[in-house]
């Protein structure tokens, strides 16, 4: 039987199952297959904070969404065209997100009375019309996997566990994915367990063959590779990109990297990643708490390392006092906050961008700190390098606001040419700078206003720094009122001055006569971009700009804001950037805010943008 192959330009698939079903792994493998095929893609992992919530319950549902296409895309997609539901809970938790005609592949084996009752289904949704309007493919995934593995010397439990590989095999067939990568991955993952390896390979193959042979699946789909800019690509998550960016920052600056960190979701993967690369001379220190993590990083910075600390919201709070010390001692320090839903513990595995005002103001006294925010997983690489440049050039702590969506989400990344990365080499001060041959630890560079960085071990430059106010120049303790006023203003001027070497904010305004500007920051770039595209396709005129620098703002921001009739600011918080813009530029921006622990949906944002345009006319 020759099966029909249907061409698509894009598809959104969501794998959903119990948190023990291996959905993240399945999604990740499918993503890698898709990446190596050359589609553009964007992913959205979504999983519970509990390691294993009770099996078969709604809180235990873990999902992984992948959007891939033959053209460049910006988001993991609003609504899945395909849902793979491994049990009734997965179906129930995700069904409301599906558009009409979506394909629903369900594991019928799990639709038992007991499992249905667990999630409050009185009748079986496979039989009672609940799924009308969808293209449902009932597949007994578990029993078919177990049957396929009968001849293997493994437990029934292990056989059942391989059902995710069956599902992956089936989907890989459906979308004509290359499988060598997954086979290689399984071989290395189960190298020490030959029986489990053989079973997983067989389950994967059985899934593929099932698609190929059964009449239930009459059509397979093809999505051609995307026409991306020439170059070598790999798929990358935000957390790996930040880690690589930090390693690059260390290499480009010539400073050894010292990471002081305490595990916290969703930042921990940066600690894990950097711990793997000791061959780069990277020291990773898993501290006793968040405070020790940032303290050790600051101590290492005093000694001449590139000091870095990584954390998420609640950990960021604990680091505030040490950040103040870093501001006062004017030492370079990189602080990465992978934002998550708050306040307090909030929703540890869900995304949010509500730490902006904390990053700006969450310290005692006038305590200016540069704040940067990457806009996509791959931008995390560039932002980490930029944070290195600013921290070392201006001798200041720098806060990077990533978020859970960027951290775990992935996209293709064009691997940069190392030769094209900026030279960030640092010259420590080695000679006295005072008129009488003394060392003035707070004598500022007239251009950057940075103080000298003289590291212990340098003879003749012995000096003491600390949290007490410093005398301008000498750095001795000072309680002089006029000196404090001068120092407060100098520290602020130093940070404000960073704007001088920032590129002006670029505005994307293809027709040149849009009256509405959509301005975002950080991880919402993709959603806003996709929404703006939709509006433009429908004939709407709208300009888009996105901030990667939150403190200081790009020098032309005020001018940009004032040149539009309306400025719409979508944020996953209650309007933090909007507050800053109104205060700084006296522009009556329109906020659009939503805090659901999830990224914006492009369709919804497009509606909001259109509404603002309509009102402006």
């Amino acid at each position: 039987m020759t099966k029909q192959v249907q061409q698509l330009d894009r598809v959104i698939i969501r794998f959903a199952g119990d948190s023990g079903d291996g959905m993240q792994l399945t999604g990740d493998r499918f993503t890698q297959e898709t990446a190596s095929f050359g589609n553009d893609l964007s992913t959205l992992p979504n999983f519970p904070a509990e390691i294993r919530a009770p099996a078969g319950t709604l809180p235990g549902v873990s999902s992984f969404q992948l959007h891939f296409a033959d053209h460049d895309i910006m988001t993991p997609g609003d609504a899945p065209n395909v849902l793979v539901a491994m049990n009734p809970a997965a179906l129930k938790a995700n069904i409301d997100d599906l558009p009409d005609n979506a394909i629903v592949i369900v594991n019928t084996d799990e639709f038992t009375k007991r499992n249905l009752a667990k999630v409050g289904y009185d009748t079986n949704p496979l039989e009672d019309g609940t799924l009308e309007g969808f293209k449902v493919s009932p597949v007994p995934l578990t029993s078919m996997t177990v049957k396929a593995l009968e001849s293997f010397d493994i437990s029934k439990k292990d056989a059942q566990r391989a059902k995710n590989m069956f599902a992956l095999g089936l989907l890989s067939w459906m979308y004509n994915r290359p499988t060598e990568g997954t086979l290689g991955f399984l071989k290395s993952k189960f190298a020490q367990k030959p029986e489990i390896l053989a079973a997983n390979l067989a389950a994967f193959q059985a899934g593929w063959n099932f698609g190929e042979t059964t009449e239930d699946f009459a059509v397979s789909y093809e999505i051609k590779p995307a026409r991306l800019a020439p170059g070598t690509y790999r798929n990358i998550t935000g957390n790996v990109a930040i880690s690589y960016g930090l390693i690059a920052g260390s290499q480009l600056s010539g400073l050894p990297l010292f990471l002081g960190s305490y595990p916290i979701t969703p930042a921990s993967d940066i600690l894990h990643e950097l711990s793997k690369h000791k061959r780069f001379g990277i020291r990773t220190f898993q501290a006793e708490d968040e405070i020790a993590g940032v303290g050790a990083a600051l101590g290492a910075a005093f000694g001449g390392s590139l000091g870095v600390t990584t954390t998420s919201g609640p950990g960021m709070v604990l680091k505030a006092e040490t950040l103040g010390l870093a501001v006062m001692t004017e030492l370079p320090l990189i602080v990465i906050d992978v934002q998550r839903a708050g306040p307090s513990t909030g929703m540890p595995t869900k995304t949010e961008q509500a730490d902006l005002l904390m990053a700006m103001f969450g310290r005692n006294g006038e305590s200016p700190v540069p704040v940067l925010a990457p806009r996509s997983p791959s931008d995390c690489f560039d932002i980490a390098i930029e944070a290195t440049r600013i921290a070392t050039t201006y001798r200041t702590p720098v806060i990077v606001l990533s978020d859970g969506y960027l951290a775990n989400g992935s996209e293709p990344w064009r691997i940069p040419d190392v030769g094209g990365l900026p030279d960030l080499s640092v010259n420590f001060t080695t000679e006295p700078n005072g008129p009488d041959g003394e060392f003035l630890a707070y004598q500022r560079d007239p251009e950057t206003l940075a103080r000298p960085w003289a590291v212990p071990g340098t003879a003749g430059l012995e000096h003491r720094i600390g949290g007490i106010e410093k005398s301008s120049g000498s750095g001795d303790i000072s309680y002089s009122p006029s000196n404090h006023d001068l120092m407060v203003r100098s520290r602020q001027a130093k940070v404000d001055g960073i704007a001088r070497d920032l590129q002006p904010l670029e505005v994307d305004d293809p027709t040149g006569d849009a009256r509405v500007l959509v301005l975002g920051w950080g991880g919402t770039y993709g959603s806003i971009g996709a929404a703006v595209r939709r509006v433009r396709r429908a004939g709407g005129k709208v300009a888009q700009a996105h901030l990667r620098y939150l403190n200081p703002f790009p020098a032309n921001l005020g001018e940009v804001l004032h040149s539009y009739d309306r400025v719409l600011v979508p944020e996953i918080n209650l309007g933090q950037l909007a507050l800053l813009l109104r205060a700084r530029f006296l522009v009556d921006v329109i906020g659009y805010t939503k805090v659901r622990g999830l990224p914006f949906k492009a369709e919804e944002l497009a509606g909001v943008v259109q509404e603002v345009i309509d009102r402006a006319e």
Binding site: F280, R283, E288, I291, F302, G303, E321, G460
Partner: protein
Amino acid sequence: MKDFKSDQEVRWCPGCGDYAILAAFQGFLPELGVPRENIVIISGIGCSSRFPYYLSTYGMHSIHGRAPAIATGLAASRPDLSVWVITGDGDGLSIGGNHLIHALRRNVNINVLLFNNRIYGLTKGQYSPTSEAGKVTKSSPMGSLDSPFNPVSLALGAEAGFVARTVDSDRKHLTSVLRAAADHEGASFVEIYQNCPIFNDDAFEPLKDPAERDTRLLRLEHGEPLRIGEDRGVVLGEYGELGVADIADVGEERILRHDAHRADPGFAFALSRLDYPAFDHVPVGIFRDVARPTYDELMAEQLSEAQATQGRGELASLLASGDTWTVE
């Protein structure tokens, strides 16, 4: 002899024990044989934590309780430096207790000098984690409810390799303990009884009064019998605990000899439990002096092992690792 005094005016209250400790420290540094540029003093907050300003070395007066954490990052990344942490009983045992025990546990190559005056000085006289129970202060008018820490027991509980106690007024003893702490590779912890003339004056007077001290001080010297004056000594009790007995009653042969090099910290811990905080007999000297690999050494070993087995890191190949594809 190099002068380790800085040009800053020393500002402690008249009669403060810190002056004596500073003088002893400044006197001892030249014989350390380390150039001043390789010495770093890191302190937290409190009267004692002003220390770095008065020394012509590198220094950081940091934040309350966090000096051991900051020193950990410095010592782990700069094994060439001699790093000293100056802290007090409030700074080191209250707000910073967590960092202190972990620095000791990891055996970070730092020397921690804990000035213990059993009171909060800088915040004007509240009880501290080493104040005796029932202490009447501004914040405890009916007496403190807290049970005090014994800093030496705490450090030994964290399995610090070097633990000692000395007194601010005994410059000779203080200097000898500092010397031994500096010689020790890894974390050293030195408790220094220190007088606060304003809020807890004469707290350690029984240990300082020449007429009285010989009947109270148990001087710990490795290999020597554990004696208090001529008449009393330390003996092993029925349950393995240590006690003090009259030599006339038990005989010379039952008096234990001090062994600071025992791998097991139990003996040193038992010694530390002798009579705290009443001062009837107080052990001073080196409780424990045992070497084990330091944190920075172990960290450096992992880096060189990674480079030896995998080669030096190469950025371009790291960025291009994993599954890649090329678009023409």
